[in-house]
Subunit: 457 residues, 2 copies
């Protein structure tokens, strides 16, 4: 690869950061109906950016939900074709009062850019755009063919993308799918994530009396919906951190001794997590290390619980209802549909008298693992090593990109997860940010990767 | 008593309702700091009303919190002195969207007046004002001496009134204390409540990681504060509806066979509660009827729980904290301080690993029982019977008016709870209202009571 490509990136750094800030300023929160127009605005922004870097056949495809943006460049005859997937939607920002700067006014402090979406995933999508532009404008061509598929519903579980992929198999055909939406191990330690957990979830709505009651006038004689909800939620775990839903672990693939050893050799200590997260101690399923609990073991996590009075002080109310939002992270070979059924059965079994319970389902996707010795993955490893000058780690991830499993199933091509985030960059939380060190090195790595790939596939 | 008093009330009904609406329009929510000025406005309103009906020595006494309003008329030489206690503060109104009309714009529908405070307690305070005015303006005098003590902190547990009472024992000396802040049994069935439960409570704040985490990236390896909170909250009860806090029931006075029989004879069925409250079935402590559970058994009730994401849809967050607000209703002879200590010890015992827990205390008061054969109570019973033409029931109540126990302890005079509310009038809940039938009959009853009292004490 020509050094001029790197020079181009260095020279245009300020311009790139200004453009990224513009992208980050759009509050494209896919889960909140009131931001529907913002999500569309972000789609338009991506489409314009594809235009600017020289892509062709650019189109904003409408779906039943938020649109999908497509663009391609297929003039590298005989060379491999890469599909780059990413998302331009972001998570909600609450509790917004915990942000040190407004979530949609990107601010650079201490060589980090702070904004919702800075790392997950606008920042990383942006890097792919600018890396290709650097090669294009420096060399006049690209070493690979490329297709962009940037969606707007990743943060709500990509409900409409599977259908779009099914209906556009030809359009999306490629040799490899590359996604930058994950993290490196830690600063200066590149990693390629070859497996992700799946996701499924339910909302539990407990109803008791027809309206809120005075806890003095009625307390003691009717079931409190909060008590009932707590009884159900408590029943999901035992004191060993194990999930007690019958059949939940039945299809979980056993961890091999080799994998166990490989994860241990990464040298990540519990103390480093404790320092980073500010918890008094680590806690999880008995018999597994923290990394194993996060990468290869399933979880059942309450993401939200609410009912009754939340203001300052006291209100002696016996509320009419109480709610919990619950998601499970799944591992091979758990089936999301099956797990949701087990959850529903469990909830029914553990519902105490005096209330009615409604269960609604969130979107779901299975776990995903790809062989890490695939040439496309090994080429990515070499690209990282060229820029970071240390060996690349091959890891798995605790998160879920449900669409990865869909790509695997429908397009039947290897998926390479090439992440440039860092684990402490507050994805989904207040003060999300992205380290500019990896913004710079990441774009270089991507450029090297396309040349490595040209030689490997 | 002269018939002219009743005629006066009938003639002035519209004027009275207009004035009551004015009182109800003041959003005097004592628990919310942003309503501090409204609470003061309500105190001023009461003070003006006392002036208007002919009271003397009217004063708004400042406290460390919201003010106390006092007024007296002591010119009935040789006659008994009554202290009328009530409160001009109200509960919060959330969830405000469940109100059919704005909570601070009183509206009369179907002979009921809807507003926050309509029954608890502005409506009932107002009735005392207007009943006395009716006698005064009709006869030119009163059959009793009277002192008004109307406070602004009842809904937050009267934190400053005990000190005020202690420091003003002479000012507040009387032969009997009358409070209208409770309910009749049901429509057309007057009741005098001779016992109330006490109250104490705690807020539990659970802290886990220093900020919200992505439930994929960290789920499984750190304790989820919601899970920890749920574990603590669940541990308070067993499946029999009993409270499992060690020592909680140790000092609870046993229910006598006589009382048990008296409550059963009231003929209140579970089905009537089920219909009224809209619950699928009644639920409570094993071995007791619904009335017993509410009147003579203590409770531990979660009034609010919150943590994590509450918006529409899904947010895969592992929250940094979770909270619960808990109150206990206490019965004779439980000691509120002792119960709070037991709660704290219990919470400590049941806190799982991986989180820190902070417990803060709410205000508290003991339970209260007064002998129902006291002449002041029996006189009230006769007054009711004159107006309602049915026998008066002698009941206990599940709620708490912590100041009642304080009066009992400091002033050492009988307390008569003469309530005109109905159990389904949504105290503390959306669509609080007051039946105008009892507004009319209640004022008549109060007038009769003062003449009965003149003869009895």
């Amino acid at each position: 690869m020509e050094q001029a490509v790197i020079t181009y990136l260095t020279k245009n750094r300020d311009k790139h950061l200004t453009e990224l800030k513009e992208f980050l300023a759009i509050p494209s929160i896919s889960s909140l109906p009131e931001h529907k127009e913002d999500v569309q605005k972000a789609a338009k922004w991506v489409s314009n950016a594809l235009q600017e870097i020289g892509m062709e056949k650019i189109e904003i495809y409408e779906t039943k939900g938020h649109p999908v943006v497509y663009g391609e460049w297929l003039k590298a005859e005989g060379k491999p074709t890469v599909m780059i997937y990413g998302h331009y939607d972001v998570q909600p920002v609450d509790p917004v009062e915990l942000w040190d700067s407004p979530p949609f006014e990107a601010e650079i402090r201490d060589e980090k850019i702070y904004a919702r979406g800075a790392s997950d995933d606008k920042g990383q999508v942006f890097m792919h755009l600018k890396a290709l532009q650097a090669i294009f404008e420096t060399t006049g061509t690209l070493p690979i063919n490329v297709k962009f598929l940037i969606e707007g519903e990743e943060e709500i579980g990509s409900p409409n993308l599977p259908l779009f992929v099914k209906e556009n198999k030809e359009l999306l055909s490629s040799d490899v799918i590359v996604i930058s939406d994950t993290s490196m191990m830690e600063r200066g330690k590149p990693a390629i994530c070859y497996g992700l957990r799946g996701l499924c979830g339910v909302q539990i709505d407990v109803k008791g009396p027809k309206s809120d009651l005075h806890s003095g006038l009625y307390g003691g004689m009717v079931q409190n919906p909060i008590h009932a909800l707590v009884e159900i939620v408590k029943s999901f775990h035992n004191e060993k951190g194990q999930i007690t839903v019958e059949g939940f672990y039945d299809k979980v693939a056993e961890l091999t001794a080799d994998e166990k050893a490989a994860y241990a050799s990464l040298g990540i200590t519990d103390q480093s997590f404790i320092d980073q997260l500010g918890v008094p101690e680590m806690f999880g399923e008995e018999g597994f290390t923290s990394l194993e609990r996060n990468w290869v073991r399933p979880t059942l996590e309450v993401n939200g619980i609410y009912g009754g009075f939340q203001g300052e002080g006291i209100k002696t109310v016996l509320p009419a209802e109480a709610h919990a939002k619950i998601t499970c992270r799944l591992v091979p070979d758990q089936d999301p549909d099956e797990i949701v059924e087990l959850l529903q059965k469990h909830i029914k079994t553990y519902t105490p008298p005096g209330v009615t319970v409604n269960v609604s389902l969130f979107d779901k996707g299975p776990a995903f693992v790809t062989p890490f010795d695939h040439p496309a993955i090994q080429a990515a490893g070499r690209a990282y090593e060229k820029v970071y000058n240390v060996p690349t780690s091959y890891t798995r991830g605790g998160g879920s990109i449900p669409i990865v499993a869909t790509f695997d199933q429908i397009l039947e091509k290897p998926v390479v997860l090439m992440g440039f985030g860092l684990p402490d960059e507050n994805f989904h939380a207040p003060n999300e940010h992205f380290n500019l060190e990896n913004f710079d090195k990441g774009m270089e790595t991507i450029c090297y990767y396309w040349y490595e790939l040209e030689q490997s596939l």
